[in-house]
């Protein structure tokens, strides 16, 4: 882990999560960060079309539905980011010639939307019981006009910032799996943001653990 500069603060908005809330999908979860809210559903391992099947691993498909209208190019690029992260942590070779589908529905967007998609996706995959080698979480950092690093920015903070970065961090070694950045920043600032994200991911992983413990706490 890199050194964290003292001037940045790792404050995240309040989290909320609910698992298994939909009856039809094999796994579902909703994730709320402040006012940003996303609903994720997973289906799989299920039948796959012959044109899409891969002989030695599962085919993962991610679909992001915006709140209003049809998915556009922005959703396609977000889908790509989420899909690469999921493929890095799922054990796809255990289900060859099958399909895994992950559907993310945006309920409300108040900033840090890509990290909210990643967190909801991870919770839905855990809920579905798909075999994973590690967990992942998403953290968004914004660099405002003064050079301060703000974690988990709201939409208003993102608008006023000069750079917005989202990192997907894995749970075993806290390494960066995926990064998506927008705006201008220096190499030093990038490294600082990565360090801050790694620190923030601890809180998110502890939250995952508490959520799953709560779910299994009912003795059925």
């Amino acid at each position: 882990m890199m050194e964290v500069c003292g001037s940045s603060n790792v404050t995240l908005r309040e989290f909320g999560c609910e698992q298994s809330l939909l009856s039809r999908p094999d796994g579902s979860a909703s994730f709320i960060q402040g006012d940003t809210s996303v609903l994720a559903a997973t289906y799989g391992p299920a039948e796959v079309k012959v044109s899409k099947e891969i002989y030695d691993r599962a085919t993962l498909e991610v679909l992001i539905q915006p709140k209003v209208g049809l998915p556009s190019v922005r959703q396609r690029s977000q889908e790509q980011c989420v899909r690469e992260t999921c493929e890095a942590s799922l054990l796809l070779s255990l289900h060859p010639r099958s399909s895994l589908t992950l559907i993310l529905q945006l309920i409300h967007d108040d900033g840090s939307i890509l990290s909210c998609f990643l967190n909801a996706a991870c919770m839905a995959l855990i809920d579905a019981g798909l075999p994973m080698s590690c967990l992942f979480c998403g953290v968004t950092c914004a660099i405002d006009a003064d050079g301060q690093i703000v974690t988990d920015p709201t939409a208003a903070q993102e608008k006023e910032s000069r750079a917005v970065m989202t990192f997907a961090i894995d749970s075993t070694e806290r390494r960066v799996i995926m990064s998506s950045t927008k705006g201008s920043f220096s190499v030093h600032e990038l490294q600082q943001c990565i360090a801050v994200s790694q620190k923030a991911s601890e809180k998110i992983f502890q939250f995952y653990r508490d959520s799953v413990k709560r779910r299994y706490s009912k003795t059925l």
Binding site: S20, D26, G27, Y43, G44, P45, A46, E47, V48, S89, L91, L94, H95, P96, R97, S98, S99, I126, A128, G129, L130, P131, M132, S133, C134, L135, D170, S171, T172, Y208, R209, V212, K213, R215, Y216, S217, K218, T219, L220
Partner: protein, 244 residues
């Protein structure tokens, strides 16, 4: 490693948690050294010399050295030897294709029924329910079902199902119904007399003396999936008293 696993039995674990040999595992120089053996069940994988958890759930232990993750899941993945309820979808020549809710359809040969020969074919139509077990079920090959056991007897397997209702529940409830002294089954037996077939792919078939009772039982089983034992007993008591 065996000691850490035993310590953490009953804990909720997440994918990515691992167990490794501790550096201060001492080997006695005087007594006989027995190699530690750990049998990993579903949800645990070996990766080099570490044991990785790959599904979330509660770690369970069975003497002497079997460990597995008890997780709540809805989608069935076929495993050899498990008995399931399948629906015949295609009848082509010598082989039936059976849908059991997995990622591909399983094949069931017409010779895999008790007393069937090339001249004496079994009476199986498209849409029939079959209770069968997996002969071949791994990730690389097409799953294959049979309706006979290894000695050639049906043993309860085969085509069934006139007049009942098939519905889906979670795999956790199915496992709870199949445990030797199942509480859910005991509570259910006190309600109405019924026939129940339990498929490990999450499908249940119920038939009772009237259509209304069949529907009541199927609704009860689907709803007691997510209830604690106390809530379930309360619900069954209300039904027995005729409230529903």
């Amino acid at each position: 490693m065996l000691s850490t696993l035993k310590e953490r039995t009953g804990e909720v674990l997440l994918p990515g948690d691992e167990f490794s040999f501790e550096t201060d595992d001492s080997i006695s120089l005087t007594g006989p050294v027995r190699p530690e053996k750990v049998v990993c069940g579903p949800g645990l994988r070996r990766s080099g010399d570490r044991l990785l958890v790959c599904k979330s759930g509660v770690l369970r232990h069975k003497q002497p050295h079997m460990f597995w993750m008890d997780s709540q899941q809805r989608r069935y993945v076929p495993a050899k030897g498990e008995t399931i309820i399948g629906i015949v979808t295609v009848k082509s020549g010598d082989v039936f294709k059976v849908d059991f809710g997995g990622s591909e359809q399983a094949s069931l040969s017409y010779l895999a029924f008790e007393g069937s020969t090339k001249r004496n074919r079994p009476n199986v139509q498209v849409g029939d329910l079959v209770f069968s077990q997996f002969l071949i079920a791994n990730k690389d090959m097409e799953p294959e079902l049979v309706c006979v056991d290894s000695s050639g007897r049906a043993n309860g397997m085969g085509v069934f199902g006139g007049g009942g209702l098939v519905f889906t529940v979670s795999l956790g409830l199915v496992r709870r119904l199949l445990t030797p002294h199942s509480e859910v089954l005991a509570d259910l037996q006190q309600l109405f007399p019924c026939e129940l077939v339990v498929g490990m792919n999450g499908r249940l078939w119920v038939k009772s003396s009237s259509v209304q009772q069949t529907l009541v039982i199927s609704n009860l089983l689907q709803s007691c999936d997510a209830m604690t034992a106390q809530q379930r007993r309360q619900l069954f008591r209300r039904v027995a008293q005729g409230a529903l």
